[in-house]
Symmetry: C2
């Protein structure tokens, strides 16, 4: 049960790891400092010694995961590509990125539902980080449209479609697992399959 048996390691870090695991799996409200302490292998008071409040600990983890998550977005890598390859690359990279923290989308949505405003700062940052990507795609779409290689599409709806397709499978994972339980195909295989399927679906929809 305890995350780290090696006493020589910093207990502050051990607590962070234990808390991360629990917060990602169950969210803020359903995780207790008692559970975190048990998993980290210390007593509950030590958590407050290092982080003062449960909220502090949560925000620390939440922000660091968020930054790590969005720092995976590397728009440079896709710069020179054709629209076709660029979209394939974006979809695949986005799904790979979420795969690393499959419960993060759900956590973000839940926490924003429970406490909108708490993450305004974070949302603003995300908006700033993804703005250039959106601008680039928009102008790519316009160019492709004018050259006649794709039909006329609304960039906002196209991006919303892609995000819906990419994220939903992670949100619905527990249902998928229950419904598909003896279908012989694992969840990881399904995710890989979706990368191609989603790209094909998107590309067939916009190409002329």
């Amino acid at each position: 049960m305890s995350i780290n048996e090696d006493v020589s390691v910093n207990m502050e870090v051990t607590i962070l790891k234990a808390a991360e695991e629990l917060f990602l799996a169950k969210g803020f409200d359903l995780t207790s400092t008692t559970q975190i302490a048990k998993k980290a292998g210390c007593n509950q008071a030590l958590i407050h010694y290092y982080f003062r409040t449960k909220e502090n600990l949560f925000v620390k983890i939440f922000e660091s995961k968020f930054i790590e998550f969005f720092s995976m977005v590397r728009p440079e890598r896709i710069h020179g590509l054709e629209l076709h390859d660029k979209l394939r690359e974006i979809i695949s990279a986005h799904i790979t990125m979420i795969s690393k923290y499959p419960s993060l989308p759900m956590l973000v949505i839940n926490e924003i539902t429970i406490n909108p405003g708490r993450f305004r700062k974070i949302i603003d940052n995300v908006r700033i980080m993804i703005a250039p990507l959106i601008m680039e795609i928009t102008s790519d779409l316009n160019r492709a449209e004018n050259s006649g290689s794709i039909r006329r599409v609304d960039p906002f709806h196209l991006l919303f479609n892609i995000v819906s397709l990419n994220v939903f499978m992670f949100i619905a994972r527990p249902i998928y697992i229950q419904v598909m339980e003896n279908s012989g195909i694992s969840y990881g295989e399904f995710v890989e399959e979706r990368k191609e399927q989603i790209f094909d679906f998107v590309w067939n929809s916009i190409k002329k």
Copy 2:
């Protein structure tokens, strides 16, 4: 605050209404019987008099919403239609259906995440209810494929795509509202717009 000032009305029903509103908005764990009692305008013990446990009350509401939700699926209405119109109709009806309880998808996913197995019975029912719809769509797709009006598509992935597109906007509603807050377009308008956009996106993807 209290849901029903009319004393002549059955308090059992008033409690159910108050509980429904709170459970749908915040889920099982974040709703307390104390809050339900406050909203219903009675004391907390009365809830246990009528429903014995909080869990009983929750399951009662959850199951009734689930049944109401899926009873809106009326596959007869789309029977005679061409694939093109049938898909348009299914997408529009599905979105309308969710619009009535926009927080239900989130609730279902959260509860299944927290307690998989608790809703096995319900999931089995859903599987049985939607099976004929899936069969029908599958054979329609095969027919359209053979007649050359659409390209070859995997029915499972197509349906998963449609569900992703239809449901995600409701799941992500709190984020959408925060991000789009002064964009001038209301959430309801956005949902209406999505009905057309999703259908066009889907149809363009599969048509030949």
